[in-house]
Point group: C2
Chain length 400, copies 2
């Protein structure tokens, strides 16, 4: 039973608006909803009484004046945000205002299939909730991001190239066994985009989030909403061709940006440089650890290794070439880059920018900002928390 | 004074819905607007009485039953739709339900600047209205498409690469001298997309219209609305790179799809084939007429000329390569191709399709349809008419 069961439509609108304008003012909310001040104040007073809203921010010191800023009440319950990556799993317990109460990350291999990975996710959820002294019944909603195309209505992956065993597996049904709360599943990059949209309090309408990790994907915000495409595969930019003479990709084509600039491609280039004697630093790392990871290339680059710099430059240029096409087509105001690549350092971002500004049209780039995603490492679980809260508020409890 | 000045908000909603669901039923409209049947019928009766709506379609033969289908009343006035291309001008007079009353097309050179081109547009408008016996005061709204990036709010072109003389020229003020009706200006391909959206009665939410003529542009419909981008330059796909070793483009980059596959590129390839003796048919045409146009290449192709076929195949493949990137990113349900290229025949479309299906991901193309734009040659003026009617209904006359 959601705590907002039985509320009126205007009351639900107020909860939704409070969620999307974290710490928003009474006045601003009334304006956004087109309510008069007195109507908004009456509704707010009722929701404060019922323990659904709470006052936030500094209270005026004198005279007991009521606080102007509002947030969802902690007592509503908690959200669970899950981010399943190709090589890791993140689980977080969040308050309704998306404050992270607990967060656990560990390595995982998505190719082991849903049985193995989701059993681990379930165990982590249980441990985190136990650690916070929170009962299963207190969970308001569960959101999960997965690294493949999702049928959003069904909560299932559809033909995921990196994780064939997950095709059509009902994640929702699996997690429903332990929790009464609704479960929502979306593509991981769509959730990063949703998270940034929440962080921005919806004040940007048209932007992109590019995730560069094992693969490359793009979350799209268009007209102020996450855009999923006609078949749910929008943002699948990893297989855009950036070099007709490039290497073969697992998708069957050649020169895909993913095959030339994602994590595994960077590692491949680094191994080659180490073995060819082009980089004493990477060669030493390989000798000591038996392998090189993308972050090691970043470290070598920061220490002045020329070969590492050249590898990062090359990867950034290829991603910039792909982005140039996308920017010409979509004309976003911002491009936020997230995923493992953000640990590789500032040279990568500089190379991406240079490549986009050189290849895109002046009108499209005049006001374009390209930066690392502000939510950083927590972008995935926060986005999953936003999905859980937003969809829960949408589907449940509205009085007719 | 618009004929709907002073109407209530629900009445305006009914007019708007009637416009967007040409020939729609009373029942369907009530449902779409969330009105009860009796409320809808009362509003409709009032609008019929005032001569704003008219009954449409077959009336039940027996018993004088009232007609179920509705349209905007012809007596409301007319719309003017103008499509300024790089090398032509189209002007049409349309009824409020977008029936074309008169249409004139003639060659023009947009590089002559707004003074010359718009004087001609104004003259054609006057002639067409005169021919139909329609007074200037009867014009409800004027819509115009132009082949460059537009600041939609200001009704001006912004840094248009093909038409520098038009930069920041106020088309709206110029046309206001003759008509009291509001003037709306947008990019030509955005209007083609708007026109198809109207034809489809908004039943597709996410599709693209690609125009291939002197340049290459793309109109985007996203979440059921035309998407213009953060700076109004969305859909500028002509300068997406399809060959890093390709020819120089006027934009300063190399391998832009526009430089390799638009009208002028096709003509250039045809001239080269004629001069190199690779195509007896094109050589003969060049000898007789002193020049070759893209349609002539289509004609030679249909007559079996191998060189012409190869040119068309090459252009279609390049456009398909660009589209493959766009389809991976946007995952549209449909891609409609319009512009002068549609006269070149079916081989072009086949080459585009083959190239997209080969390079895009299976999930993005499984249900993707690529076809010539159904509105065809009239797409530009119909889209301009939709803009004029839609925006006029939006900006004017709603009672508070």
């Amino acid at each position: 039973m959601a705590p907002w069961n039985g509320l009126s439509a205007p009351e639900m609108q107020l909860l939704q608006t409070t969620f999307w304008s974290a710490g928003g003012s009474r006045h601003g909310m009334a304006e956004r909803l087109g309510f008069s001040r007195s109507k908004a104040n009456a509704l707010i007073a009722g929701l404060l009484d019922q323990g659904l809203l709470a006052e936030a921010g500094p209270r005026a010191s004198s005279g007991g004046r009521r606080a102007e800023h509002l947030r969802l009440h902690d007592g509503l319950g908690v959200l669970v945000g899950i981010d399943v990556g190709a090589t890791s799993v993140d689980v977080a317990i969040l308050q309704p205002d998306l404050t992270v109460l607990a967060h656990h990350q560990e390595a995982a291999d998505v190719r082991q299939g849903p049985g193995v990975v989701l059993a681990r996710v379930r165990a982590i959820m249980r441990e985190l909730l136990l650690g916070q002294g929170i009962a299963a019944a207190q969970v308001l909603g569960i959101g999960m991001g997965v690294p493949g195309p999702v049928n959003f209505e069904a909560g299932q992956l559809v033909n995921p190239p990196l994780m064939p065993g997950w095709d059509s597996f009902s994640i929702r049904d699996y997690l429903r066994e332990d929790y009464a709360a609704p479960v929502f599943v979306d593509n991981d990059v769509n959730l990063m985009a949703l998270g940034e949209l929440w962080r921005l309090q919806r004040q940007l309408s048209n932007f992109l989030v590019i995730k560069v990790g094992t693969g490359i994907g793009c979350g799209i915000v268009c007209h102020g909403e996450v855009y999923r495409g006609a078949a749910g595969s929008a943002g699948d930019v990893g297989h855009i061709c950036v070099d007709q003479d490039g290497p073969c990709c697992h998708c069957g084509n050649v020169g895909c940006v993913e095959a030339m600039a994602a994590g595994p491609a960077i590692v491949r280039m680094a191994m080659a440089a180490a073995e060819a004697g082009e980089s004493p630093m990477l060669a030493e790392h390989l000798r000591l650890h038996g392998r090189i990871e993308a972050v090691d290339v970043g470290q070598a680059s920061r220490a002045g290794d020329a070969a590492a710099n050249s590898i990062i430059q090359r990867a950034g240029t290829h991603i910039g070439q792909m982005l140039a096409s996308v920017v010409n087509f979509f004309n976003p105001s911002h491009v936020f880059i997230g995923g493992g690549i953000t640990h590789i350092g500032p040279l990568f971002l500089a190379a991406v920018r240079q490549s986009v500004y050189q290849r895109s049209l002046a009108l499209s780039t005049r006001h374009l900002e390209i930066q690392y995603a502000p939510l950083g490492e927590q972008g995935g679980v926060i986005g999953a928390g936003v999905l859980a809260m937003h969809e829960s508020l949408k589907v449940r409890g509205v009085a007719p």
